[in-house]
């Protein structure tokens, strides 16, 4: 199969004879709420189909507000993929904002999809993408507003199959009770099989339970109802096993091996209103070769698979033509590691400049090459450069295996200042394993050194506004499943805050403190994010409880209410510390251990031990670390590169 084969058939999208849609919300409601454009659908490249020509209705949900959900690439890929299938109509649904949420509850209006404006509860499937833990109460909001019972066990035949996917599905246990099944891994590979199975079971009237039983045998599919957990007295897991003989004990993640010949939207949706990522997104590769020890994406998306230059060129041109967007952004975890980046950028510059398209290049390592490229595609005066050292000292950067040295950063900064940039953003984490006060002070020192580099590099008469602006931001480290730090203890809220104060005070002591602005993240949400990230099935009752208390939009600081969460935990008799600050033994069974993400637990253990010894590991191209992913036999694991040294 080539990329060509899977391009969208002509005439399927937005056919002119499509019936004039009746909106689910009345004019009175739409005129009363904020940003009604969130709920009307009908955007450019939205897919309309005739109901008589489809037998499978899928509602695809991003459980956050429209502007966030519409910015997400994964949904656009799946939306395009499902809608290419015969007889399948995939539509979108996002969380109603709090104003409409209240109206819908009061007037008992069922949640609807944007395309057909029909109630979600009448669909065959409701797919929910799980991108961050703090959206979990919004999942309950979606189910509740749809009129779908929150617990999977309470849902009869009439309700949609509720499916979860995305990075948080790698530890689905805290939300396992709410879902009929989870799809573990990349969506391109098994949905067709799952749809066929669903159609067969429906035709033969086998019922939901039998469908789920058979679905559980498809690679990558996890059906929580067919597994049971028992616990030791101390609360840790004693056993986790299937309840029926044919159900697999281990669920192996799915990956798309042929990333250059698979589904990718040539006609992405173009919203009417301004959204967070309002541009064409070209995903140039999956995975990351770097192996930073705190990073979940760096492990679960292994191995690195690059899309071919030819495919990217073809799609860039087609997507810009079909959307009319003014900007294209390259997406990957570490774009500098894409081997044909210079060729791709040359092509984009040549092709885009004649059409006045801007190119945005996030996640580039700052060096002579990237600065040269950025100078060509961006207005230096308007942009800032971003470094992500993540830790303040070389020692701690070795612990986390962030292969960025102080020399790299200072040299990069010097080049940037010579090139005319005056704004630099720095990202760090606080609360990393083994962190000391000295490491934290390192954040302030490094920020100061960068400011000093500016004053050394740029002569007085050439300083624009005479100043340099360093923005240093810290987030709090939250240990995540399937990382070498999954064994790490997490800080308490008090420890987090103390570290932030220490950072702030250390910055104030610096010579160039006036050039440095410091931002830090809220501590309460980080603690909870940690609980939900490494939580087990028992967390579901806390989620139910906190939702009952009115919690939604927890990812939004203005709606997050820590008190509700604390009381929900105590009412459920669960201890936050068990999930956060507790020391986890190397032999402990984790709630997510039944998932095989391709990287072995042995490898993660090795990396965890190397971290304590402050030893670094080479990246995948330099030397294979034997993580276990090579059995998938694709991407960087089969590249010929090991002779480069």
């Amino acid at each position: 199969m080539t990329a060509q084969d899977k391009s969208c058939p002509e005439g399927m999208q937005g056919s002119p004879d499509a019936y004039q849609r009746k909106l689910a919300l009345s004019d009175d409601i739409l005129m009363k709420i904020e940003k009604p454009a969130r709920y009307i659908g009908g955007e450019v490249n939205a897919v309309m189909k005739k109901k008589s020509e489809v037998d499978m209705r899928i509602a695809m949900c991003f459980p956050d507000v429209y502007e966030i959900g519409m910015s997400h690439l994964g949904i656009q890929i799946l939306y395009d993929m499902f809608n290419r299938l015969d007889g399948v109509w995939c539509e979108r649904v996002y969380s109603p904002w709090v104003d409409l949420d209240a109206v819908m509850r009061k007037e008992k209006i069922p949640l609807f999809t944007l395309e057909s404006q029909e109630p979600v509860k009448n669909f065959d499937w409701l797919g929910i993408t799980l991108q961050y833990e703090m959206c979990y109460t919004n999942i309950l909001q979606i189910l509740d507003l749809s009129g779908i019972p929150l617990l999977a066990k309470d849902r009869g035949e009439a309700f949609p199959i509720v499916i979860g996917g995305g990075p948080c599905a790698y530890n689905p246990e805290p939300i396992a009770d709410f879902f009929d099944l989870f799809y573990i891994g990349e969506g391109e590979t098994q949905y067709e099989a799952l749809i066929s199975l669903y159609r067969k079971c429906r035709r033969d009237k086998l019922g939901k339970k039998e469908f789920l039983r058979r679905a559980a045998c498809i690679s990558g599919i996890y059906v929580p109802a067919f597994y049971e957990v028992s616990y030791h007295e101390d609360g840790t897991i004693a056993s986790f096993s299937p309840t029926e003989e044919k159900i697999p004990a281990v669920v192996v993640k799915e990956i798309e091996k042929e990333v250059s010949a698979t589904y990718y939207p040539k006609k992405p949706l173009v919203p009417f209103m301004r959204i967070t990522q309002d541009r064409v997104v070209l995903e140039i590769m999956r995975g990351c070769i770097r192996g930073c020890r705190f990073c979940q994406a760096g492990q679960i998306y292994r191995p690195v698979r690059e899309r071919s230059l030819e495919m990217l060129k073809e799609y860039a041109v087609a997507m810009l033509q079909n959307t009319g967007q003014e900007e294209i952004s390259l997406s990957s975890l570490s774009s500098s590691d894409y081997q044909k980046l210079p060729e791709l950028i040359d092509f984009l510059i040549a092709d885009c400049s004649k059409n006045h398209v801007n190119i945005s290049l996030p996640s580039l390592r700052i060096d002579a090459f990237s600065l040269d490229v950025m100078r060509k595609v961006q207005d230096i005066k308007k942009t800032s450069l971003t470094f992500a050292p993540e830790a303040g000292s070389q020692r701690l950067r070795n612990v986390i295996n962030k292969g960025l040295t102080e020399e790299d950063i200072l040299q990069g900064a010097a080049l940037a200042f010579e090139g005319g940039w005056t704004r630099v953003k720095l990202y760090f984490m606080l609360g990393l394993p083994t962190e000391t006060e000295e490491d934290i002070r390192g954040i302030a020192k490094l920020s100061n050194q960068i400011a000093a580099v500016f004053f050394e590099t740029v002569p007085k008469d050439k300083r624009i506004n005479g100043k340099v602006q360093i923005v240093t931001s810290t987030s709090f480290f939250v240990p995540k499943p399937f990382t070498p730090f999954q064994w790490a203890t997490q800080c308490t809220k008090e420890e987090y805050i103390e570290k932030a104060y220490l950072t702030r005070n250390a910055i104030k002591e610096q010579l160039n403190q006036k050039s440095i602005k410091y931002n830090w993240h809220e501590a309460d949400t980080s603690v909870l994010e940690g609980v939900l990230a490494r939580g087990d099935r028992r967390i579901a009752k806390v989620l139910l409880k906190v939702y009952e208390k009115g919690a939604i939009y927890d990812a939004w600081s203005e709606y997050f209410d820590n008190e509700k969460w604390l009381s929900a935990f105590s009412e459920c008799g669960l201890d936050i510390a068990f999930y956060t600050t507790r020391e986890r033994g190397l032999d402990e069974i984790f709630p997510w251990d039944f998932i095989d993400c391709g990287v072995s637990k042995e490898f993660l253990k090795r990396e965890w031990q190397k971290a304590q010894k402050e030893e670094i590991s080479d990246n995948c191209r330099k030397a294979c670390q034997g993580c276990g992913i090579s059995r998938f036999d694709c991407g960087v694991c089969v590249e010929e590169h090991f002779d480069e040294g």
Binding site: G14, L30, A37, I40, G42, F272, T323, G324, E326, N355
Partner: protein, 236 residues
């Protein structure tokens, strides 16, 4: 060369604000492959101007925008291409080439015609049909306008050029220039206030029917649709 494009905005797209309509057309002309001209400089943008902003909730049969192009084949071709690139809710009605001396769309606007209907059950309590002529004949039509610093009393009279019953709806022709713009709802509110009634919430359904420019003088105005100052059937 400057092209004046007339379009209709209807259905669910009445919930899209003016800035979003601008953004929609910036992208639509690119999808349509129109050879639009850009400003020079580091961040070039399309040379495009919209006539009178339309409020959220209003439909329109007479919206205008001007776009500067480097080349084109025919006005008809532009209409076809833009309609192909458009969505349900925005329909391109015509395109004309503007003479060199024509002012831009926004500066040209003098007036706009609206048809206004009351939603069922939200009509005024008095015999509004019977009172329309008398109201329009008044010497002064006071309206209390809410401003940033409180309220201000203004007289709408000079800005209302027509106010009459057409079938089920009230037709009104109002000043829509940037200096003296009057919204149809203001007139209805003044009308109801004159008969000691108040407008119910979301009671009006408003369609802007046409946008006009003045080709006469200030003293003896001659209002024509914005498209009338351009030339049709022009081929490059």
């Amino acid at each position: 060369m400057k092209i004046r494009i007339k379009f209709r905005k209807y259905g669910s797209l009445k919930y899209i604000g003016h800035l979003d309509v601008q953004r929609f057309f910036q992208k639509a002309v690119r999808r349509a492959g129109i050879d639009v001209a850009y400003t020079t400089g580091f961040s070039p943008h399309q040379i495009m101007s919209f006539a009178a902003p339309l409020g959220v909730g209003l439909e329109s049969n007479g919206e205008y925008m001007d776009v500067e192009v480097n080349s084109f084949t025919s006005c008809e071709d532009i209409v076809n291409r833009l309609n192909q690139a458009s969505v349900e809710g925005i329909e391109i009605l015509s395109a004309v080439v503007l003479p060199k001396e024509a002012g831009n769309a926004m500066a040209s606007v003098a007036a706009a015609g609206y048809s206004v209907r009351f939603r069922e059950g939200r009509e005024p309590a008095f015999d509004w049909r019977g009172q329309m002529a008398a109201f329009f004949a008044r010497e002064s039509i006071p309206f209390t306008k809410e401003t940033k610093r409180g309220t201000a009393e203004i007289n709408l009279k000079s800005g209302i050029f027509a106010f009459e019953l057409q079938g089920d709806s009230i037709y009104m022709l109002l000043n829509a220039s940037s200096a003296g713009n009057i919204k149809p709802q203001m007139v209805i509110e003044a009308f109801l206030a004159a008969y000691h009634d108040t407008l119910k919430e979301n009671a009006l359904m408003i369609t802007r029917e046409e946008t006009y420019t003045n080709i006469g003088t200030q003293e003896a105005p001659e209002l024509v649709p914005l498209a009338a100052v351009g030339l049709e059937n022009v081929y490059a």
